[in-house]
Assembly symmetry: D2
Homo-oligomer: 331 residues x 4
């Protein structure tokens, strides 16, 4: 195994693949010498190299993790696949949907695994929500409403949706089978450089399901909350709660269309609240294990590149919508 | 003083005008006999009548409060103004901007007061926010982000924005001087009758200020939260907090455009939090007092009909935007 | 039915007995003329009298509610029982255990009901806790830990335990069958008049169950929280939560005494949290209904005078302990 | 510098002294070989030894940190002082007050520093509270009320007060100058081995100040809260809040003794709440720096051994009180 990029996320990647079974991290590439010094202190057994090529061309290496800035993902992943390596790519997997599609096709041709590191899909919270939804506890899902705001670092190259929303979009893609048909998004750049620090996105479906995302780098309070409403029960997922991230409300509503269509008859119900205990463990170790298993067993991982492609498609459409004054962009 | 409508809000209106100085509530109109029975038990001194006309035509009555369904506001208010009465109208004041404009013009011609009952403008919380903003404590305001969701009664005639957003839009109009230029809105009707129970609205300005509204009748949790971000400080207004509704964060960010325009330089600052004590008292008593004073002193009330008109304009535009797939609607 | 005392609690008493079935409130006594004016406005059908004797001596009246200061409870209740009236007495029922015992004996001789108005026993929260405990969901109960603090009115005649703890002690008596054997209490009077505004009480049992009470009139924050720990599950009861007062933690611990008695082996378990929906309705209406039913059916009410006597015994012992520097006082 | 004990706290000690200026950690002693393996992985430059004597007798070492079980503190510290080493001892510094006094005297004779590792005194929260109190913002202090409960590890040798209360007692000693005169404590051992897992302690003073401590290893919820009430303002310190640990309430009460001494006149005041930003940084680094500076400058550290002695005196008295059914124990 080789890792390209030892910046913010790279050390977490290395630590978890180090702890995973059935794999050995042989080398890590980073162009910054000081990062390789940090690496060698923590992992004297791993070879630090200053060029990604050394990893991509290495014959010892079967699989590569790419943890570099987004705009470099495509060319690195393409080269790695062409050299016969399995690839795990940081989220968002590419800058454009076309690039992601090309990687997926290439991997298919070569019989290689390409996977997106959508870490949230491997948390106990998302696992529990998936279980609740699949077991039909929640009923038909009506909406998904996510808020991810805080006083955060302004990114120089991507807007707040590209930075923060991939977590929530990947959850939506994983939890809900239906695929969206269009996007509306609005936002504002207080730095006046065209990179929005506040943005709002509605994701539209052909059914009456709706999803909405509220992202900001400029909130005085940190909020990480998602509401998922079904006709049987509703979920509130608050990722800031240390031990009570998921609350299941035995709350619902049902409407009956009256014959003369003039009256609305809506039955409400509020009941108990249930806070399930969640599985522990580091999510990224789940990513590492899934990547390794999907290579060994030739099975699809949970965070497929196709799911990663869906995320990129939505982000691209959101950007187009913002630049066109909130116009609906078809997917 | 006469009051038309003794349903949900009417009794609050009567109770507060009863308690206010310089006015006497003479009669209350409601077509439902059982409501007049309730009235007579609580206020034996007030005459209950079953037709609004009796109030509008009464020579004893100088001012009328209209607390009936929205679609009746315009014709009742117009008749009252034509009969020389001052008028206070429940929010939203009319169903269309054109109607509101006609009432404003008519009142101006007749030298009468027409006022909107935007009760929230008279709360201690809004008063404190106005004070903080006007004293330049907050600095230049960057955004206004409001969430008003709960498991609520589905209205049969108006969508969730018309039902819940007037509170927040009136605050925005009162707190921020700049006027919006356009609206984008999206939403969904789970009753399939064209009346949205979840809706999202972005209000756009010619400056880099932005406002956003998230309204739902179908949330398992009740949220009443507004974030107001300035470049000096930021406010979080949580109306569900019993005694700590307003929190002022000594938090801000400032960007400096670098010469080569490639780098973003943003300075962050987080500091103390301050929770001011708010003035108590019932907001609706403030409405009553302001209405009476504005009649007696021939001054403009805080909740002018013009402010009410702005609210209606935005609601109308939001509806048009939702029906046109989120298209930007100019105001 | 007659009610003696129309101060703070009396109007609530009257309102609920007015709403209850199988009873008519005929007259209310209060020595303060202005209170009788308030009464006559709200309830023109009820006769206001200025002396408790008029109620105690009335032949029309079968039952009396005593809602006067504590030191008057005994003589009023005794006179009422001697005149053949059933009696419901505000908490705490008397100033001394001896007085409470005399009333209980007198009622027994006369075949009359004497009941304590421990309103909390009729709340949905206490009802749910009783149900959980009785159904052995919670297991063997280990402790009861209650905090009831706020910035409150200093009482001129009784200390903070007599003022605030009756609620919590009555719950303890109702929820746990075992009876305490002794009391330790400490406290302080910041008014230097011998009336403690902060006090702490431990209630000791012959088993390894323990109860503790923390009461204060001088806390900047309001806390109303009780922890009840069982060996199967634990309950947290937060009375300030609007809709989530009871939380049941699937948390427990079990110790196994090791053979050599040197090691402690304790198994911990943390699991789901469950927030049951509680029955609604006003607790005091439950008191009224229970009083009426216990008279009609000659059955014991939930809040028996014997339970009220237990509360007084504990309060008396706590006072003695505080005055003796926290010395253990046997019950 | 040498460190004795590399169990739970030792690695934190080593990490912070490693980061501190003007000192070098030369060796660490632990009798368990596996702990020395852990040490050598993290700090190849530090010599691991399996006997404390090697550190105590080393001529290279000027100062020793003792991070071993409480019952070993005295003999290790005494030996180190006798060998001319400065000593920093984990809290509580000794098992008995007599031992602590002997160490203090010995250090004085030898001109050496002996310091207690009461880490909480070096947190931003305690620093801010000290500042608020010393600047007379809070006024005369009336009470200190601390709750430290959670589902915690049962200690095999010391009860819950010895385990959890040292943090809070050290804060009390640091924040309030007056010294207590007696202790009352109660508690229960659910393991039936005489080691209480729930305990309550009142600390009495000759003035009308009072302190109370509620400690438990068997609570389903974690609480870390201290109320400090002054006659000008009150502080609520919630250590679980990530960024808002200290809240200052502009709340107070003042009593005026009326002439006839029968009435209590208490003026209440509630006002703004202020949440100051706290200094960051790891508290233990502050401990390390203070220890080094107090050696170099021959000054007293913040967490003097005398403060540590006060803590032990109170713990000893609490134990005696619990074993004597809550009897007041003079200090």
């Amino acid at each position: 195994m080789g890792v390209i990029g030892y910046g913010y996320w790279g050390p977490n990647i290395v630590r978890n693949f180090f702890a995973a079974s059935n794999c050995t991290v042989i080398s890590v590439a980073d162009a910054r010498p000081e990062r390789l010094v940090v690496l060698s202190k923590s992992y004297p057994s791993i070879k630090g190299v200053n060029s990604a090529d050394e990893i991509i061309n290495s014959k010892e290496i079967d699989a590569v993790v790419i943890a570099t800035p987004v705009f470099t993902h495509f060319s690195l992943a393409k080269a790695a696949l062409n050299n016969g390596k399995h690839v795990l790519i940081e989220k968002p997997i590419t800058s454009t949907a076309a690039e992601a599609e090309e990687l997926i096709n290439l991997a298919e041709q070569k019989g290689l695994t390409v996977m997106a590191d959508h870490t949230f899909l491997y948390t106990g919270a998302v696992h529990k929500m998936k279980e609740l939804i699949d077991s039909e506890n929640i009923g038909k899902i009506h909406y998904f409403d996510s808020t991810r705001i805080n006083l955060g670092l302004f990114q120089p190259d991507v807007n707040v949706l590209w930075d923060l929303a991939p977590h929530d979009i990947s959850m939506l893609m994983y939890l809900v089978d239906e695929r969206p048909v269009s996007i509306n998004a609005t936002g504002i750049s207080h730095t006046h450089n065209g990179i929005e620090n506040i943005a709002y996105m509605t994701v539209n479906y052909s059914s009456d399901f709706i999803a909405h995302f509220n992202c900001s780098w400029t909130s005085p309070v940190k909020v990480r909350q998602t509401l998922i409403g079904g006709d049987k029960k509703m979920i509130v997922y608050n990722d800031l709660e240390p031990s009570e991230k998921i609350r299941v409300y035995d709350t619902g509503f049902q409407h009956k269309t009256d014959e003369d269509k003039k009256k609305i008859l809506v039955d409400y119900r509020t009941g108990d609240v249930f806070i399930p205990k969640l599985a522990g463990g580091e999510a990224l170790l789940g990513v590492a294990t899934d990547f390794i298993q999907s290579i060994l067993n030739k099975t699809a991982p949970r965070a497929t590149a196709k799911l990663g492609l869906q995320v990129v498609k939505i982000l691209q459409a959101s950007q187009e919508s913002i630049k066109n004054n909130g116009k609906e962009i078809k997917l």
